[in-house]
């Protein structure tokens, strides 16, 4: 093999090695960091794993918000109108969090089936329903009223 070829081979091998390391790391990181979405019904039926970070979403049940009086701890229920799940969160809720609003919470289920959330997301539009929730509601057969997109004006 002449020098130029040897060099080219080295470069190709380097690229291959780099690419396979990158693919390996990517696959590993992906498998560690994927958060699956579960609806309250799925959580109720025990489909959701404990001690793994998951996402759960639904509508905040009217009158279910309970605040701690001397900290930022708050508990509320989310529902897909078939089942509901209690979410516990410490911190500041997003601006658009309110009763009857669709939210997504990220966290882990504890032994009692309560979601200990590390993050609560409400999207920045009052008519908007997260697609996960819309689908979960549709599955539970409880899609309320008209779809969000239709009430544009």
């Amino acid at each position: 093999m002449n020098a130029a070829r040897k060099q080219r081979l080295l470069i190709v091998l380097m690229i291959l090695l780099g690419a396979s390391v990158a693919v390996g790391l990517t696959a590993y990181a992906l498998s560690q960091n994927i958060n699956l979405f579960y609806s309250p019904s799925e959580i109720h039926s025990g489909m959701a794993p404990k001690d793994t970070r998951i996402r759960a979403g639904g509508m905040v049940v009217e009158g279910s918000i309970r605040r701690d009086t001397n900290s930022l701890k708050v508990e509320f229920d989310i529902t897909d109108y078939a089942q509901s799940t209690t979410v516990q969160y410490v911190g500041i809720l997003p601006d658009l969090f309110r009763e009857g609003q669709g939210i997504v919470a990220q966290g882990m289920l504890n032994e009692e089936g309560k979601l200990i959330a590390s993050e609560v997301l409400a999207k920045h539009d009052e008519n908007y329903m997260p697609p996960e929730i819309a689908e979960a509601l549709a599955k539970a057969g409880k899609m309320p009223g008209m779809p969000a997109a239709a009430k544009e004006y």
Binding site: A22, T26, A29, N35, F37, I92
Partner: protein, 659 residues
């Protein structure tokens, strides 16, 4: 009447750009000079009519013409005039019009600034840009015209601009970002023109370099503005969320960064040609992909205005056509491309190749993380989300590696660099960087943090390595004449790389030394951290032009002495009934104090978010340095002079081609 004029001039612009995409192309192919000569006036015409369309839309906003659907949805009589203007691009339809207007602007700029280019190249470049303009104009006219009317019954009051967007950041972020996104179409068009003409040479790289630099600079600026806007407007103090929409702008940026470096190699050394072309195609394809992701509604975020499947399909079709078509052309033509020189394994070429590999790999991994949930969802395999840990775990090491190589590249030479040269030249910067990292970490009064040390080391490493190169250059011929002799591209490069160092410092410090305190605070309560004390004095009602607000009053003491009073707000925008957090900031070069109000609790108590953010400004400062560096490099007079010579050299070839 005025909105109809807007539609009419959009249609005229479409007609002109359709002609622009066909006639000069055929002219360039058959060597018909007359046909190619049509390109410049057509480019001017398209720009003129689209400017008229923009003015019509602006007029509709300023006069509160709520018979126009787009205006009625996105504006309001109570909106201040400057937001009425920025509301032009506050929604889907208008932002597309802005996009295509900027595309027309770039086309015009190429038409004017390309006097020295061979005629067949300029014909092809403008024709390809005309095709892109036509596609977007078709999209606007068929699916998303901003001039559609509510008739006969139109509302008396508009639905108001989304309060999140009523901000200075929104006035400047989209135009800057689009200048970058769309500017990549110039590099793309040059690549396609070069493939079509079969002339992939150093001259081609030289022509497209300044354009690519400018586009890249704007893209950098646009992303930085977006990050800055998110920081103070979204109310939770983050500056990068790995949101799919952010990724959509980061991906073209990564590839464009690779492209400006690989163009340099192609120009100077005549190698990496087909790779450079591939990067130019990828960069623009990714900015189209970004548009698709953001505009089609497959992603949901602040940016997703519309969820209309028809629109998504149209962009998807365009995406497939552009990517598929250009890759096909590439496959046919790239095989005949020959490198003009060779290089050794230890050389500047190899280091730039490593830079390119690292950047494209990071882009690929951002792409996987962004598209994976979409693919899983469309295959009905479940709703998932890929969190920031994934991106951080991969992106941070790759970029750290890149900083190391960035330092090494400073003293490297083209063609071949003996390994001992690196050792000889860079042991000192290495030692200095290590010492400086320890000293600067020590000076910053905080707990020892190895990752911060690494970040500081990388930043100092970049600075010292490039200082070494700079001082080598000055030593060759006296300091004064050495300073004057360096080209603008060289200073631009230094500035850009300094920007990377500044950015790295910002990231390391703000990520690891940030302090968050979320607290329930009643009037009189205080929270203490660092050397600041925050005392909540309660909140009162305030009324603004189109909102009502609860304004908190927070006294800040520094080491027990009164320092300043901060007024965070919780606003309700009346037209939409939307709640917004207005952050109070005490900005500084070395730290920001960040105070935001959460929700009202009871007895006048509020949830208050207080943050101490060290060096957060350095993030955007670094990006500004990069932007300035890119613009400075692009302004190098070398490009114009050399282009003249290239054009003269190309003349005989063209004459023989057309005869």
């Amino acid at each position: 009447m005025i909105p109809e004029l807007g539609t009419y001039s959009t249609i005229l612009a479409l007609c002109l750009s359709l002609v622009l995409s066909v006639v000069p192309m055929i002219g360039a192919h058959t060597g018909n000079k007359l046909w190619v000569d049509y390109a410049r006036p057509l480019a001017k015409g398209v720009f003129a009519f689209l400017t008229l369309a923009m003015l019509c839309l602006g007029y509709a906003f300023l006069t509160d013409d709520f018979s126009v659907v787009y205006v009625a949805n996105g504006s309001n009589t109570a909106l201040p005039w400057y937001y009425k203007i920025s509301a032009i691009w506050g929604g889907h339809e208008g932002s597309l019009l802005l996009w295509v207007w900027i595309q027309a602007f770039w086309t015009l700029a190429v038409a004017i600034k390309s006097r020295n280019l061979p005629l067949d190249i300029i014909g092809r470049v403008l024709a390809v840009m005309g095709m892109i303009t036509s596609a977007f104009l078709l999209f606007i006219l068929f699916t998303s015209s901003p001039f559609d009317r509510f008739l006969p019954n139109f509302p008396m009051e508009g639905g108001d601009l989304n309060p999140l967007l009523q901000d200075f950041g929104l006035i400047v972020h989209p135009p800057a970002l689009y200048m970058g996104y769309v500017g990549l179409s110039v590099a793309f068009s040059f690549a396609i023109a070069a493939l079509l003409s079969g002339r992939l040479d150093a001259a081609w790289a030289r022509w497209s370099r300044p354009w690519t630099n400018v586009a890249w600079a704007f893209l950098t600026l646009g992303i930085a503005l977006g990050s800055w806007w998110a920081y103070y407007e979204l109310g939770w103090g983050g500056w990068w969320f790995w949101d799919p929409v952010e990724n959509a702008s980061l991906m073209p940026w990564l590839v464009a960064t690779a492209l400006i470096h690989s163009l340099a190699v192609t120009e100077k050394r005549g190698v990496f040609k087909s790779w450079t072309v591939l990067l130019a195609i990828s960069a623009f394809s990714l900015s189209l992909l970004g548009t698709f992701l953001v505009r089609s509604g497959v992603l949901t975020s602040v940016h997703a205005f519309a969820t209309d499947p028809e629109r998504g399909l149209f962009i998807l079709g365009m995406l497939i056509f552009v990517i598929g078509g250009s890759l096909l052309l590439y496959a046919i033509r790239a095989g005949s491309v020959k490198s003009e020189s060779s290089f050794a394994l230890s050389s500047r070429e190899t280091l730039l190749l490593i830079n390119n590999i690292l950047l494209t790999v990071s882009c690929a991994m951002v792409l996987i993380g962004t598209l994976y949930p979409l693919v899983m969802d469309s295959l009905n395999l479940g709703k998932i989300s890929v969190g920031p840990p994934y991106f951080n775990a991969l992106f941070v090491p790759l970029m750290a590696l890149m900083c190391i190589f960035l330092g090494l590249a400073s003293v490297s030479r083209w063609k071949q660099t003996p390994l001992r040269l690196f050792v000889q030249q860079l042991w000192l910067p290495g030692v200095l960087a290590l010492v400086a990292a320890f000293v600067s970490h020590g000076l910053y009064n905080s707990a020892f943090e190895p990752w911060v040390l690494l970040g500081l080391f990388l930043a100092w490493w970049i600075v010292f390595c490039w200082l070494r190169d700079f001082s080598n250059r000055l030593r060759q011929r006296g300091v004064m004449s050495g300073l004057l002799r360096q080209s603008r591209s060289y200073y631009g490069m230094l500035l850009g790389h300094l920007g990377v160092a500044v950015l790295v410092v910002g990231v390391a410090m703000v990520v690891l030394f940030v302090e968050h305190h979320d607290a329930r605070m009643g009037p009189g309560d205080e929270v203490q951290f660092r050397n600041y004390t925050f005392i909540f004095d309660g909140a009162r009602h305030v009324e603004g032009p189109n909102y009502i607000s609860d304004m908190g009053r927070i006294r800040v003491l520094k080491e027990g002495q009164p320092y300043r009073i901060m007024y965070p707000e919780k606003r309700v925008y009346t037209a939409r009934g939307m709640v917004m957090t207005e952050v109070a900031l005490d900005p500084g070069l070395f730290r920001d104090l960040y105070v935001a109000m959460g929700e009202e609790l009871d007895n006048g108590a509020w949830a208050i978010r207080m943050q101490y953010k060290p060096f957060v400004r350095w993030l955007w400062l670094g990006a500004l340095f990069m932007t300035a560096g890119g613009l400075l490099a692009a302004s190098d007079p070398r490009y114009r002079k050399q282009a003249q010579r290239d054009a003269q050299a190309a003349m005989p070839a063209q004459a023989s081609q057309s005869s």
